[in-house]
């Protein structure tokens, strides 16, 4: 090595796989990534505003989320919405069914609600209407997930393309329905008068938040302790193993996608009956895609996904507020969330690998050939420290 370092041809660094990273270190790296993301966000803001934005960024970020009771409620409502879609995706992704069609699946759930409101609203009691909406939205959501599932199970088609394309069908379907329901041609469905979730304690979104929290806990138990959860994990890890122990793989795929569809439909219900009271083609606001990242960062553990949803919504809502306060325009929030995601995802690299730089210390003495063991130990210590 001495000679190699001298000739200068030893690579500057090489990357080695880490096997057992202590938990505290992994979490330090993750928290560090969030902190660095915020710092870079502040620097970008400072750059855009000529320096004054650096401090304001942190203030506005925080106030944008916790500034008023209304904002706090919005924060939890947005988190609940993001989380329910992520939860809906988790069973599919755990099974390695790459469903990128949550956008359309949730929209279909919402469409199911609006269909009920349009044709039954006012004719039956509100409670019965919500119950029917509940069933119909789930049926719509299941319809949109089970079709690719059947194709995948029977003919092994590529679910990624299939689910992606189903998004566009769903959007156009909603557009057509709105066109039919709104005779004026404005293509905007106003606030619907029926089928609103009841308020709890005078606030709108409380019921949404409670329901999503309950679903989070139920899904955790389903994954961890139920036979279905076990089967879908085995199918996800290895189809060969599943077949070998006699699991009916087709049945598991379809069953799991029905569960995923039920949750997507439920997310649509929360969107229409609990949040917006209306529907448009872009009602889901891209959350069907963002939820994939949120679910993945939460390692498909429902409680961790709750954490990642909170974090994401915090950054998103806070940076939107910052953009308004500092007059930075609509795309500013995307830049900040982009930076955040980039760093949080990239930090996993440093958890799984370590980078070893060429050692310059070794030039000092000529004792090397006799004491290589000491050197390895030293460098190992350095890395963990």
């Amino acid at each position: 090595m001495k000679l190699n370092a001298k000739s200068g041809r030893e690579p500057l660094f090489h990357i080695t796989k880490r096997t057992d990273v202590p938990k505290w270190l992994a979490w330090t790296i993750r928290v560090g990534a969030v902190v660095v993301a915020l710092l870079i966000g502040a620097i970008v803001t400072g750059g855009l505003t000529g320096g004054s934005g650096f401090g304001l960024f942190f203030k506005d970020l925080f106030l944008g989320v916790f500034g008023t009771p209304r904002r706090i409620l919005n924060f939890f409502q947005n988190t609940a919405m993001m989380l329910i879609i992520a939860l809906a995706l988790a069973p599919a992704f755990k099974m390695k069914f790459w469903n990128i069609g949550a956008e359309g699946q949730v929209l279909m759930g919402g469409l199911g609600c609006v269909v009920c409101i349009q044709y039954l609203g006012g004719k039956i009691p509100e409670g019965a209407l919500i119950f029917i909406m509940f069933l119909v939205s789930m049926a719509f959501g299941v319809g949109w997930t089970v079709i690719p599932a059947i194709f995948k199970a029977q003919w092994n088609t590529n679910e990624t393309l299939f689910t992606l394309m189903m998004n566009y069908i769903a959007m156009q379907l909603v557009a057509v329905c709105i066109y039919i329901w709104v005779p004026s041609g404005s293509a905007v469905l106003g606030v619907l008068p029926y089928g609103h979730f009841p308020q709890i304690g005078g606030y709108n979104y409380i019921l949404n938040i409670i329901l999503v929290t309950v679903i989070m806990a139920v899904l955790f138990v389903y994954f961890r302790f139920s036979k279905h959860g076990y089967e879908l994990t085995v199918v996800g890890e290895s189809v060969n193993t599943a077949k070998y122990v006699g699991i009916n793989v087709k049945r598991v795929i379809i069953r799991t996608m029905i569960l995923s569809g039920v949750l997507c439909g439920f997310a649509g219900l929360l969107l229409v009956a609990g949040t917006n009271y209306t529907l448009a083609t872009d009602s889901v606001q891209g959350r069907g895609f963002t939820a994939i990242l949120v679910a993945w960062l939460g390692k498909f553990n429902p409680f961790l996904m709750g954490g990642t949803s909170l974090l994401y919504v915090f950054i998103d809502q806070g940076s939107t507020q910052t953009a308004t306060d500092l007059g930075l325009g609509g795309y500013y929030a995307d830049i900040i969330t982009g930076i955040f995601f980039f760093l949080v995802i990239a930090c996993e690299f440093f958890i799984n690998y370590k980078i070893k730089f060429r050692s310059f210390r070794k030039k000092q003495g000529d004792v090397l050939p006799e004491t290589p063991v000491e050197n390895t130990e030293k460098s190992a210590e350095e890395v963990t420290a």
Partner: protein, 597 residues
């Protein structure tokens, strides 16, 4: 501990000094010193995981050593990539061949070859110098006339000629490049010359997917030689060969040794070490233990060096007791998706209290046979009849799913070849893996983790599985421990038929012998054991009967007590060549891919 016996004053080809390499916390090589002389065959001996391949990968540029120096022919070198290794005339034939299936042998060999350097400027300078060089002309009969000095670049004609030649140089370069890049087959003759020089018997115009495993290996070796390697590293070259093919390979290796090449063979087969090598270097747990002259070595001595303590290398074989037919297989045929006949009228009987060995070249249909019995493959024709102990009702298992077979009360256990891809789930812990077989029992909705936990703890204790806890994901365990977990689970189901495919592949000696002992215990309990193996020495020692299959056909069933390796080796290649290519050419390649994954 370290002893190095110098070979008879030959020049040194490679010296590795103090080489260390670790992956994370795993130390693969620690302070290894190794010397290879020119014109010798050195065996690198060690158990799985002793760091043989890692050490050689550092020579061939796959890994870069953390510590230590490498000298090639006395000069210190830095090998950062396989290309650097080629420049130092080191070539490695990997265990998993790295060939493009759709290319011919020749195409694979010349693939990635660098064009010889051709510099316009240097050539121009050389031409100018040549033209400027004085030529002495004697053009007079008069011996006293002065000798005239002529320079080509002094005459107008010479100048014009030189200028034209220099102007044409870029064009010449272009044509050379065209020839190199677009007419690579023009180099076929040179490749064939290399093949002939060492007596390789192969048609290099075949596509790789049509080649048998041994032919693919030959292509790899020729590739390395064609690139001008003087130092060849072969990683477990005999693992996939029949005894006859191995003999052929050894002849070629001896021819190369005569030619002055240095050859390093990575292996863990002791008898081959004794047969082919001049010296043996033994690694244990990443450390170089000793290098000995083969002539001075004995098999027990090498085993002791390799394992670190004395080991009994005898497999017991008791006479079978209470033999009765358990599983009758008749006329199984199966053609896979690509239209290759993987089983062609396979018939045999597995009997209780006896170990039936299945021998054959990898990919001859062993996997398909076991998977068919286990209910994973639906054959086109044939019958599998299960005769329960104590004279119950015979059951036909063909075209039944594993679920249905279990519901019939047939206790069939199967240790598949692909442990982490089929038998176990790598990311799950030992307890959850125990549950794979039994999770359906009990409560309708929720899992019972209590009994699997007890089972996991029993297996860890009884089979001495080395693991931090029963909550460790099995992929973190070493190969031997993974296999103990799998075999332990399959045996815990109290089977009446136990099928094991390559259960000792990649295991160290101690773990292998644990597995043999477990199989023997099952045999004593009256289980019908079916053992698919690749090491013929073991098959002959362990099995009561050995069925040999070749290209999906049963070519013979021999008695384990009287059979010889050569006899089995011949049966393994009995089918005509054309047939053989179909079976092992395409499909071992696929299996190797899977293994790697």
């Amino acid at each position: 501990m370290e002893k190095t016996y110098a070979a008879s004053g030959k020049p040194v080809a490679i010296r590795m000094q103090g080489v260390s390499k670790s992956f994370g916390e795993v130390v693969a090589n620690k302070d290894v010193n190794l010397t290879v002389y020119e014109g010798e065959i050195l065996s690198l001996l060690g158990e799985n995981g002793s760091g043989k391949t890692t050490l050689m990968n550092m020579l061939s540029g796959i890994y870069f050593p953390d510590e230590g120096e490498i000298f090639v022919k006395g000069k210190p070198v830095v090998i950062r990539s396989p290309r650097d290794a080629y420049h130092n005339r080191i070539g490695m034939v990997h265990q998993h061949f790295k060939l493009v299936d759709l290319f011919t042998g020749i195409d694979n060999i010349i693939l990635g070859e660098e064009m010889p350097k051709f510099s316009v400027r240097d050539n121009a300078r050389a031409m100018k110098e040549e033209a400027h060089a004085a030529r002495y002309v004697v053009d007079s009969d008069d011996s006293s006339a002065p000798v005239k000095t002529v320079r080509d670049d002094e005459t107008a004609k010479g100048k014009a000629k030189l200028a034209a030649k220099i102007a044409a140089l870029p064009l010449v370069k272009f044509f050379k490049r065209c020839k190199f890049n677009w007419l690579p087959r023009s180099r076929g003759g040179r490749v064939r010359a290399v093949a002939e020089k060492y007596g390789f018997d192969i048609n290099l115009n075949q596509k790789v997917y049509d080649m048998s495993v041994s032919e693919k290996q030959t292509v790899e070796i020729i590739k390395v030689l064609y690139r001008g390697a003087d130092i060849l590293i072969l990683d477990e070259p005999t693992a996939v060969l029949t005894p006859q093919e191995t003999e052929k390979l050894f002849d070629v290796l001896r021819a190369m040794r005569e030619d002055g090449k240095s050859i390093i063979i990575i292996t863990h087969k002791l008898n081959e070490v004794m047969e082919i090598s001049d010296r043996v270097a033994v690694l244990r747990k990443g450390e170089h233990i000793a290098t000995v002259n083969t002539a001075d070595a004995t098999i027990p001595m090498l085993t002791e060096l390799m394992v670190g303590h004395k080991t009994e290398l005898n497999i017991e074989r008791d006479a079978p007791e209470g033999v009765e037919d358990r599983l009758v297989v008749e006329g199984l045929s199966f053609t896979d998706r690509e239209g290759v006949k993987k089983m062609d009228g396979v018939s045999f009987t597995a009997r209780s209290g006896e170990i039936l060995g299945i021998a054959g070249i990898a990919g001859s249909g062993q996997r398909e046979l076991l998977e068919t019995i286990a209910g994973l493959i639906r054959p086109e024709s044939g019958a599998i009849t299960y005769l329960p102990p104590e004279g119950g009702k015979p059951e036909n298992l063909v075209r039944k799913s594993p679920e249905q077979i279990r519901e019939l009360g047939v206790r069939l256990s199967f240790v598949p070849e692909d442990r982490l891809g089929m038998g176990l789930v790598g990311n799950m812990d030992i307890i959850d893996n125990m549950m794979l077989r039994s999770y359906r029992r009990g409560n309708f909705i929720f899992l019972d983790r209590k009994n699997p936990k007890h089972l996991a703890e029993d297996i860890i204790r009884d089979l001495e599985v080395v693991t931090p806890s029963s909550h460790t994901p099995v992929r973190r365990l070493s190969g031997g421990n993974v296999q103990k977990v799998l075999v332990g689970r399959e045996i815990a189901a109290a089977p009446t038929v136990l099928m094991a495919a390559y259960p000792v592949r990649g295991l160290d000696i101690n773990s292998s012998y644990t597995i043999y002992r477990l199989l023997n215990e099952q045999k004593k309990r009256g289980v019908a054991v079916i053992y698919v193996g690749e090491d013929l020495d073991v098959l002959v020692e362990l099995c009561d009967r050995i069925m040999v299959i070749c290209a999906g056909q049963v070519t013979g069933i021999v008695d384990g007590k009287t059979a010889t390796k050569e006899e089995i080796g011949l049966l393994m290649t009995l089918i005509s060549d054309e047939h053989k290519h179909d079976a092992d050419g395409k499909h071992t390649a696929k299996e190797e891919d899977k293994d790697e994954a």
